[in-house]
Amino acid sequence: MTLLAVDGIARSFGATVAVDGVSFGVAAGERVAMIGPNGAGKTTCFNLINGQIAPDRGRVAIDGRDTTGRSPRALQRLGVGRTFQISQVFASLTVRENVQAALVAGQGRALSPWPPLRRREAAAADRLLDQVGLAGEAERGAAALAYGDAKRLELAMVLGQGPRLLLMDEPTAGMGIDERHALMELVSGVVRGRGVGLLFTEHDMDVVFGHADRIVVLHRGRVIAAGTPAAVRADPAVREVYLGAEAPPCA
């Protein structure tokens, strides 16, 4: 069953065609990586899917339901969770309150006037923090988190809402090697265990080739290759425009 179906989406900015008819799909329980050179349209494509911008043409569907041009908020209600390239957390809340906020928002109670946020869903929040390895940081202000920790907090917030489709923009950018693979293992466990679909972009070829079931390669706004890591690595077009002679190491 295709969880996310992207069908011929396109978007121009002035005279520049950023995305020019991109189609692919993500199944439940599948990890799909989107790669390509800078300016290939990855970010635009990602934002067309997560509702940040609307496509000029084409269609995006989640679970067979047309979601083209829906706002990020509407997509959240359909079970889409996303993380940002530069992690976005609530700097003036504690780490635990960040997760509590995600849980309370998931229940649609963001406007509630009583009781204080810090008294809601504390136990559930702590379980999620434990899962991403931030249990010891719960009382700290989120602004004080190290870069990689903020990325993990963001993941805990998203997982707390029980998403069915995860969209992650460069999930491991700026993390150490060990940290990168640990984070991707954690995500992979959720994908397999709960049958969640995962679409991510990434510059680190080790992460891409090590943790994707399928890879979609963009170039100049179009898909030039899609398939298993082995097939993409061997693809001459991909080597020519993106990977170069220096093929990434085997995973």
């Binding site: 050179p37 150490g176 070829m205 170069g244």
Partner: protein
């Protein structure tokens, strides 16, 4: 030494970003700062440029202390800075971007003209009247370096020059750095991509949590699997 940094501290708000960082770079040397995001690489470069205030320690260019100078004064003394996000002036044409960087030639540093720079980056030559916002990522990176060269720097600071470039363009960037070295420029660059650093740099410093935790020639650093696993991002 062209650049000597001695025990500098820097803070963002109350958070300590650099904790006694010391390093040096000789004339014509390419030196890499290695480490993951938040380790202090960019902050070190910004401290040298004068974009982040340091609270302790000294920074000297060709033996002259520059710690108290504003960024623009340091630039006129011969420090060129290419930020991680390129920061091209989007509404200005390529020629105007170069004009912003233009400074009179300085003794002791290679003198650049627009013609020489366009010969180094021939792809920019036909784009002189194109606004910066309509350049591709690779062209923007070239323009960011070209613009800095217009100031005739003796020391070039490159923040993550390979970041976001296709593996294919990373190789071209490595060639460009080699050519600048051949011109006699000193290059201090920050990198997460160890492969790229290994290719262009003579020596490296590994940073973690605002401190230098390891330094040596690139060959020595590459041999230290433990430092690589713990502190660096993309392995060799």
């Amino acid at each position: 030494m062209r650049l000597t940094v001695d025990a500098i501290d820097a803070y963002y708000g109350g958070a300590r970003a650099l904790d006694g960082v010391s390093l040096a770079a000789g004339v014509g040397e390419v030196v890499a700062l290695l480490g993951r995001n938040g380790a202090g690489k960019s902050t070190t470069l910004k401290s040298v440029m004068g974009l982040v205030a340091t609270r302790a320690g000294t920074i000297a260019l060709d033996g002259v202390a520059i710690g108290g100078l504003a960024a623009n004064a340091r630039a006129r003394m011969g420090i060129g800075y290419v930020p991680e996000e390129r920061r091209i002036f989007a509404g200005l044409t390529v020629a105007e971007n170069l004009e912003v960087g233009r400074q009179p030639p300085r003794p002791g540093a290679p003198a650049w003209t627009e013609a020489r720079i366009l010969a180094l980056f021939p792809a920019l030559a036909p784009l002189r009247h194109r606004p910066g916002e309509r350049l591709s990522g690779g062209e923007q990176q070239m323009l960011a370096i070209a613009r800095t060269l217009m100031g005739n720097p003796g020391l070039l600071l490159l923040d993550e020059p390979s970041e976001g470039l296709a593996p294919l363009l990373v190789a071209a960037m490595a060639d460009a750095v080699a050519r600048l070295k051949a011109e006699g420029l000193t290059v201090l660059l920050s990198e997460q991509n160890l492969r790229f650093a290994a290719r262009v740099a003579d020596r490296g410093y590994v940073l973690a949590r605002g401190r230098v935790v390891r330094d040596g020639t690139m060959a020595e650093l590459l041999a230290d699997r433990d430092a690589i696993g713990r502190h660096l991002s993309i392995g060799g």
